[in-house]
């Protein structure tokens, strides 16, 4: 389970997160929706332990992130808004390093590497250095890195940004398989179709806090809209969809 409890954070006196609360059950995919600058990345960085909350706590698998950072990082796989590749390492070397850093060794290490190689179709890239990889290839390697140690919790920051159709399909397929295996998944995205297809729960974030949450259908019902994009705009900003345009026409 991923849990965020009363988290507040400010930068240079400007509040970015205000009393943030939510929880994500195991075996569930949760999407974090919010416009740019609403604090999504800050929220994800606090959950992964990269940033410290000014107040409140984040928990991964029942462990408080700030108290048990090493233990939490073993339970967590993260795909950030940049892939974080090392361009002078081959894919095999890159994944081997991160698997070893997570404590895998010997046969376990070999098995983990073989597994991600097959699951994410990395055979052709395996012995190539990552310099010059396409966006899709980079994302695949980054996802493999996040999954190589079989984390029980997965966090992804806009994972399909810049991906071609095939790479995006592979990513979606992988996330659905992980959900079936019981992984708690939290991802941020701007692509509504993807959010509808993948997520069990949607968190709508505006001005540093969660303004609403529920399944896509629940959110549509509450907002009186027939698609998630309209629901998001209404719930996040309280705007009547198309109101301004209608006003202009009138």
């Amino acid at each position: 389970m991923i849990k965020v409890k009363s988290v507040c954070k400010q930068f240079s006196g400007t509040p970015v997160l205000k009393d943030l609360n939510f929880s994500i059950a195991d075996g569930q995919i949760t999407a974090l929706l919010g416009a740019n600058g609403t604090g999504k990345t800050t929220c994800l960085r606090i959950i992964t332990g990269l940033l410290k909350a000014d107040s409140g706590h984040a928990y991964i698998g029942g462990l408080e992130v700030s108290k048990y950072p090493k233990e939490v990082r073993r339970k967590l796989g993260v795909v950030g808004d940049r892939e974080g590749l090392y361009e002078r390492l081959t894919v095999a070397e890159y994944l081997s390093f991160f698997a070893s850093a997570q404590g895998l060794a010997g046969d376990n290490l070999e098995y983990a590497l073989q597994s991600v190689r097959e699951e994410l179709e990395l055979s052709k890239l395996w012995n190539r250095r990552t310099k010059g990889f396409s966006q899709g290839e980079r994302m695949k390697v980054s996802l493999a890195r996040a999954l190589v140690h079989r984390p029980s919790h997965l966090i992804l920051d806009e994972p399909t940004r810049g991906l071609d159709v095939l790479a995006a399909r592979l990513l979606r397929r992988t996330l659905l398989r992980l959900r079936a295996e019981g992984t708690a998944i939290l991802f941020s995205s701007h692509i509504m179709a993807e959010v509808v297809e993948l997520s069990d729960t949607v968190l709508i974030m505006a001005n540093g806090t969660i303004v609403d949450s529920g399944t896509p259908d629940e959110l549509n019902t509450r907002s009186g809209s027939n698609n998630l994009e309209d629901s998001f705009v209404k719930l996040a900003y309280g705007q009547q969809v198309g109101k301004s345009q209608q006003g202009e026409v009138a």
């Binding site: 992964t48 808004d81 850093a101 997570q102």
Partner: protein
Amino acid sequence: MSIVDNIFSQQFRALAIKEFREVWRDRRALMIALGFTLLFPAIMIGSGALSFKVVSETNLNIAVIGSDYAPLLEKQLHGSGFQIDQLREGIPRELLEDKYDAVLQIGKEFESDYHRLLSPKIYLYIDGSSKSGGRGIQLIQERLGTLQKTIMQQRLSARGIAPQILAPWQLQVRDVSTPSSRGLAILGIMVPVLLIMALMVCSSAPSIDTSAGERERMSIETLLQQPLTGRQIIVAKVLAVTSIGWSGSLLSLAVLTLSFALLPLAEIGVQFSAGIIELVAMSLLLLPLALLVAVLQILLALRSQSFKDAQIQLSILQGLPVALLMIVNLSDIKLDSPTWQLIPLIGQQQWLSLLMAGEAISVSLALVGSLVTLSLVGLCILVGARALSRESLLGAN
């Protein structure tokens, strides 16, 4: 978990291997390191050898105008180092512009004045702005001075006067320096500074890449999300950068040692006395300094705003230690005192100087001094580990 456990853990080994791969596969860093370590000593030694060859083997072209009036003088100038041309007439300035390094002009009245003991004037024309001008004056004065002294002594003796009467004393200069001590004065200053420079230049590119570069590529974020401590990350980076910096300075030392065979050191009275033991000792003494340079460069690069900013800051700052060494060397400070040798950089420079000249160093002082340097490295690692937890490192502020 203790620091030792941290360092020798499987995770740390994987991290160190990753850092070493990254650093040693960085072509730009390797080109800079190889370029400096191979080219700089080669240029220095090559230009030194060439200028010595020019000075020692090139004859000075001297034009003597009016040599018929003083054949003895002209004869005295003949010998190694001079190419004498006898001219009946000529304009000294034009002759100097043409091909001559010096022009000696003897007037018509020389012969009569000489016989009447009137100290006839001889004019020596040189171009003070030319490379050979100073050397021309010195050599001609030496040759003519010897002849002048002999003639003076003969004249005094012919008149029954002991030549010693005109010399209330004789100043005898005895140079008690040995080739080894002359080596210390020349090589002892030049070589350590060059080795320390090599260390800093070779470490600079990998230290920027592994800190500011990682931050700019955002891979530092991925690294910090692993169950690794800040200390482990900094230590692995420092070791990888040190491996390049230290290798660079060792390569410089090897190139310099081999190049000394090309320099006519014996002919300028300098002896390169360092043997295998001294060279090994120098290599080992450079290691703590290599670690300190690496960790300081990484700290500075981590504090900078961007990759480019780090490059600018480090290129400015890496000249400082060398400038400091030169100033300290030129000052009146007694650097061989134990206190000075405990100070990083100065200590290493002193030990390298002595070893370069084949002289002994105090082993206990070198050990304590190296420990002081290593303690500073440890302190900087702790500071670096704290720097990794700064939120501004991730662009959050």
